[in-house]
């Protein structure tokens, strides 16, 4: 190439963000034939047929146009109805709902809508890989706050408080949590609500795993807490609960001012979410619940199996209550989480993701997804146990 330094010519915002730590493992694993992957952050189920079929029908009927920027009215109404039914929360489908291209887009435009240059965003870690990057790209300053394993990775106001400055504007939470499988109880969240009120924060709550809770734990939607609906930007979608990751369909719910601001960005950058995915999403909300419940029941059984397996191996591990991840502590092996993931992949051909990819405090842990078949989980457990028995760094 020429002698122009292209790296320097990139926007400082882009240069400021690191590439995802997951990439390396993907490259190694992709070369291997008999890999069992516990590294996949999406359901192993295919989207239920009735949902796929409704999309095919829509295409046959010629539904191939743009939709309203905010999303098809039918879909927004179904979303509003769903929140009324499930959480007794009232959102106006005309002013409070924005359909997005997955929660990923919703998170990006939520940040861009509320963050001014230099505004600080409190982000409990470990967390999903894009949180910091979205804050940075929006011109904000991500402020990582480590959650503690002793507390099963739930975050408390006491842990957040030292990081509050006069520039703190947003608290970004994601529970049930990727990568830890942690959930927050109502009391935990009530404490956060008080904290948000005290410091007048906007709360972005990523609840994409909200339907996936286990062991009798009901997900508590942050917007249902007293006084929180107005100051919460609630993000959710169809990817995890309905096994619809590739459709790229999500939504944001908030007060009319914030949704209008987000819509402004969305209309210039995305225009609208794909109509086919929106039609499928309508079907998911109208008739998909029974399929979703079945998948959740299956995840729960796998959760027991994998948790049981790690405990029997002697790995320190708390019982995950949500999402489809388990986050065992591998520090006792003497490896860093990065080394552990790499050595395990090379020696036993099991792919998982080092905890450090989700924030510094994830170090010492690995994320294992149990969104894979029971047979594969069982085999992976045998391989991991074998690895631990024969490989100890110190």
């Amino acid at each position: 190439m020429s002698d122009i330094n292209w790296q320097e010519r990139l926007s400082p915002g882009v240069n400021a963000i690191a590439p995802s730590g997951i990439r390396k493992f993907f490259d190694i694993a992709a070369q291997m034939k008999d890999v069992i992957s516990l590294g996949v952050g999406e359901p192993d189920f295919v989207t239920p047929w009735s949902i796929r079929e409704s999309c095919v029908y829509g295409l046959e009927q010629g539904h191939t146009s743009y939709t309203a920027n905010r999303g098809m009215p039918e879909l927004r109404e179904e979303i509003a109805k769903h929140f009324q039914r499930r959480y007794d929360l009232t959102y106006d489908s005309n002013t409070d709902v924005l359909v997005t291209v997955g929660v990923s887009e919703a998170l990006d435009i939520a940040m861009r809508a509320v963050v001014a240059p230099g505004d600080e965003v409190l982000i409990p870690e470990p967390c999903y890989v894009s949180y910091q990057a979205c804050a940075t790209l929006a011109g904000g300053v991500p402020v990582s706050v480590a959650a503690k394993i002793e507390n099963e990775f739930r975050i408390t106001p006491a842990e957040l408080e030292p990081y509050v400055t006069e520039r703190t504007k947003v608290l970004l939470i994601g529970y049930p949590n990727n990568p830890t499988g942690a959930i927050m109880t109502r009391d935990d969240l009530l404490a956060l609500a008080d904290f948000a009120k005290k410091h007048d924060l906007i709360v972005i709550s990523d609840e994409i795993y909200g339907e996936l809770t286990y062991g009798g734990e009901e997900h508590v939607c942050f917007a249902t807490l007293p006084g929180m609906q107005e100051r919460t930007i609630l993000l959710n979608g169809f990817s995890k609960a309905y096994a619809m990751t590739g459709w790229r369909i999500g939504y944001a719910l908030s007060n009319p001012t914030i949704i209008a601001a987000m819509t402004k960005i969305h209309q210039y950058t995305m225009l609208c979410a794909p109509i086919t995915a929106q039609m499928a999403a309508v079907e998911a909300l109208r008739h998909g619940e029974k399929y979703m419940k079945k998948m959740v029941a299956e995840y729960d059984r796998r959760r027991h199996l994998i948790y049981d397996g790690f405990i029997k191996m002697g790995l320190e591990c708390f019982e995950p209550k949500g999402a489809f991840y388990i986050f065992p502590n591998i520090a006792a092996t003497g490896y860093t989480s990065d080394e552990f993931a790499e050595e395990l992949l090379k020696a036993e051909h099991v792919a998982l993701v080092p905890g450090s990819a989700f924030g510094a405090c994830g170090e010492g842990h690995v994320r294992c997804s149990y969104a894979t078949s029971v047979d594969k989980i069982s085999q992976a457990l045998v391989r991991i146990e074998n690895f631990i028995r024969h490989h100890k760094k110190r």
């Binding site: 890999v35 059984r301 027991h304 029971v374």
Partner: protein
């Protein structure tokens, strides 16, 4: 109990240790429950679903609709019994609608099945009519798609 049945119905060969872990019960409890279900005839048998097309067997499957004259006291039951006692008969259902019994028969050839219907079934007292349909292809049986390739299309690692 229902969850255990659901798992067994899907795959009866799962080891008890795995079932126990998935159901968050002890192996002892799962084993005990399975024994009870067997004793109470809730679990009748553990079968294998075979794709006969792949085996290259030329077996013939026929679905026969049968009309009956119900009998005093026993209704359809005693005729049904006379039918289901034949080894050739795989399945018998009492139906609502335009016929009374739905019978599924397996045989080695078209001839054999036709012969069985003509000489054994239609001659039973109380059977007033039979209509035979020969099965051409099985796409799905007992919830299992016969030629379902399970391909994992996901990326190996994703956030």
């Amino acid at each position: 109990m229902r969850e255990l049945l659901e798992l067994l119905e899907h795959d009866a060969r799962r080891p008890v240790s795995e079932l126990a872990a998935m159901l968050h019960r002890s192996e002892y409890e799962v084993e005990k429950q399975m024994k009870e279900l067997e004793r109470d005839k809730i679990i009748l048998s553990y079968n294998t679903l075979i794709n006969r097309d792949k085996l290259g067997d030329d077996t013939v499957t026929a679905i026969i609709e049968i009309n009956l004259t119900p009998q005093r006291e026993v209704g359809f039951d005693s005729i049904a019994e006379r039918i289901y006692r034949f080894d050739e008969v795989r399945t018998v259902y009492l139906m609502s609608g335009s016929f009374d019994l739905l019978v599924i028969i397996e045989g080695k050839s078209l001839n054999e099945v036709a012969n069985f219907v003509a000489t054994r079934l239609s001659t039973i007292e109380g059977v007033t009519a039979t209509r035979s349909h020969f099965m051409l292809k099985a796409y799905k049986k007992d919830g299992v798609i016969m030629n379902d390739e399970k391909i994992d299309r996901r990326l190996v690692v994703s956030p």
